[in-house]
Amino acid sequence: MEVVDVRPLLAPLISFACAGLVFAMGRSVFWRRFWSLTAAAVKLLVVLSMLPGTLQGTVFVFDVVEFTPGVGIAFRADAYGMFFSLVSSTLWVLTTIYAIGYMQGDKDRVRFFGFFALCVSTTVGIAFAENLLTFFLFYETLTICTYPLVVHAETPQALRAGRIYLTYTLIGGGLALIGSVMTLNATGSLTLGQTGILSADLGTFTLVTIFVTLVVGFGVKAAIMPLHGWLPIAMVAPTPVSALLHAVAVVKVGAFGVTRVIYNVFGAELLQTLGYASYLGALAAFTILAASVMAIMQDQLKRRLAYSTVSQLSYILLAASLLTPLAALAATVHIANQAFAKIAMFFVVGAIGRVTGKTRVGELAGIGAVMPWTMAAFTIAALSFVGLPLFAGFATKWYLSLGALQADAWWFVVVMLVSSVLNAAYWFPIIHLAYFKTAETAAAGDDRAARDPAAEPRSLRREAPLTLLVPILICAAYVILLGTTAEVVGMPTSLAEVAVWQSFGLEAPAP
């Protein structure tokens, strides 16, 4: 059931207005914080207010402007879009709190918070985009808005990262545009509101070109190998940016786009007969394993996190390419599962950096005694990635494996299990260092660590300030909640189920 409602437009507008207010009044610390926090909270409330309706199958639509008949800017909040926007709005609140603490004393904070709000605004715009044009518009805006955040430090290294980032994503955007235009040409429509608008009689060439351009175009941001090159380099950005944008907003937008292409442009049924998705699945499986192996070799914490993100994003692509309902459920819930766990990790890494100045894995010996709460959160996130039951990551592993078995693709189950062991291989050493080695025993000879004040015996306990710690703990708690209370009404899983029914064009089973 579709209902015309202004809220799908309102949600991106709030962040947009916030950006404007921050740019206008942001010289004052109070107003900058006030508008950032208020907008984040109000937006979350607006999105939440749509939740009961969405859970009952209502889709909120709002047409803004039509350029030519059928082509224009329009918003449509279906369950899948709601899921994505709910995750990103919740995390926006947490990241804003964190960023206020983290960026204290940093330069150019007006620019930072302004563009930060703009990025979130476009993310929600993408989540609620009714058609490929709207989607593309926000997708490109996001690319541009992220640039100032990536180069925030303005070091040569940051500027280079920004250049590489722009090159990758602009080319990706261009490809997506070609795909969108071809779709419009072939079908006369760009809507994402149906379970597929293309049909098999368009001819192989057209279909293949559309699939490749759209998937590659969006796949760049989803960092599927070999298009992942920009992500580890972009880690020079300040930690809150890496956390929200490079673990959630920007990269998830790519995965979200690919999923939309699969379910709403092609449709599961058509792709099933065409069989293109299996190539995407194979590439995603390769990415999952290869990126994990790369992650093991990284000593820089943020780079290790980045490669882990590359690997985890491909879970979503792999799940989407399996074209079975259970796998689609995995693709959807993983958006939340990965987001909360990874953002917790980024927050932790940022907090460790701010408190102790450590940024490499090798320096973390004994950090568990220095920052017990922070490292507890990190441990929870790591266990979730390994897929230990009762943590969020297990749900993904479970649905994705079952979905693969549903699709008779047992080798993906093997990929999943190997990947979880690989995850253990790059997260557990950090936990091990943090808790089971002291700085003295680990760094015999490494004078840099020995000189560090944290290394001194029983100087101990230098926990991160509350503005950093509270978001970290909330994220960690959420990771456990996601893993244990999947069936509580209002938790993301119930929303994801509605999203899957809508993606497959199924009727919701009677409650």
Binding site: L388, P389, S401, V413, H432, A486
Partner: protein, 507 residues
Amino acid sequence: MTTPVVTAWPLLTLLLPLAGALAAIGWPAGTPRGWRRPLLTVCSATTVLLTFAFVPPVLRGLTLEAQLLQITPQTWIVLRVDAAGVLYGATAALLWLLALVYAFGYLHGPNLGRVFATLMMCLAAAMGVAFAGNLLSFFVFYELLSVLTYVLVVHEETPRALAAGLKYLVYVLVGGSLVLCGVLLTFAASGDMAFQAGGLFAADVAPQTVLLAFACFLAGFGVKAAIMPLHGWVPDAHPAAPAPCSALLSGVLVAAGGFGLIRVSFEVVGVTLLRELGVMPWLGGLATLTVVVAALLALRQDDLKRRLAYSTISQMGYLTLALALLGPVATVGALVHLVHHAFMKGTLFFCAGSFAHATGRRGMASLAGLAARTPLTAAAFTLATLGMIGVPPLSGFVSKWWLGIGMLESEAPYALVVLLMGALLAAGYLLPVVFTLYFRSPVTGPLSEAPEAGVAQRARAIEGRASLLLATGVAALLTVVLGVAANVAGFPAALAQRAVAGFFGGP
């Protein structure tokens, strides 16, 4: 089968240990430090009493059930108390209490809060393993138990312990993944996961699928149950862990693998289907190999705890061997052996810990003549050794008796030969230790004079420390009591018979 009684009591077996874990790290804040140990003991002891309280209703044929959480739309985490579960659960809880009491006297130094909290969380996970009502619940608790145990293995943080911990982690994570694979295959094929006597696969499931699933379970649980060649973590992890934790590794953790195999064989795949698949003879072959080779390897270990670790591998081989025969009596033997072995091996590890504490060294030579200084501990060690060999009327004899009868009933006389070889080899690797303790005189010389004085002093301290002696004594006493009173209702044999009756479709 009667319908289960829904009750909240099983949940308490999880909550009590978790409360203990909080007490161990001093929560709620402000609790006096001196209260921690009494609180832990109370939590652990109450858990033991609770598991004992489950015995009478279970023997009457009731099952108790409690639903915990729904973690996916298809599955709940369910606790269900049945005969096999009570058998394993009560064993684990009781051995845990003893190990805890022992640890109070044994463990010193930093990180005590961490290790005690982990111990209690592991107890909760072990209770979950015992009382899991379906495959997914079983897997959940099994994985948590595996990963948490890491903290116990590496507690001493020596390079040796850390290396053993790493090896342990790799083994159990890969094993756990294989188990998960089996769970997934089972769920995809049957759509149901509740343990069900006789198996839960529908008749139309392809045999290849069942075989694949069972192979995954076998390899996965086999890692934990130390079936050769998957045993690699056992001989490293046991010596590295502190003695009370080694006792638990042997008596509960390795047994969890065996218990998982039993659950899966009888309540997931089912006897009929297993006979058709024809994999059990292969498992029997591996078990034979395990019993004999591990015992042979045990002969040449100089480190006492390493010797005991190989002994565990060998003894758990009996369990697998009996399981592979798929006979009712042999299965009773397997379950009874699981319990009896836990307390005998517990005693041995407690004693080994006390010896190591007294001498400060690990080699066999350091044990020479130690019995004169630690008479009670040495006596307990001797008693447990005799139990391991199977001297009547000790508990080891009873379980071997059941196993032997079962092997004959299943018309597998070769298995009986394996059993006897295992017992003889056990005599071969344990009796020399006893001999060294009592009859070999300590190596004396100008150089060892000073350490010897220290040994005497420390040995007196060990014998004088009530908690060490209490735990060792009770475990040794259980070795006798479980043997002498084996036929009393409510003792392991009765429970095992009840469980097996269910497995084989009896009343």
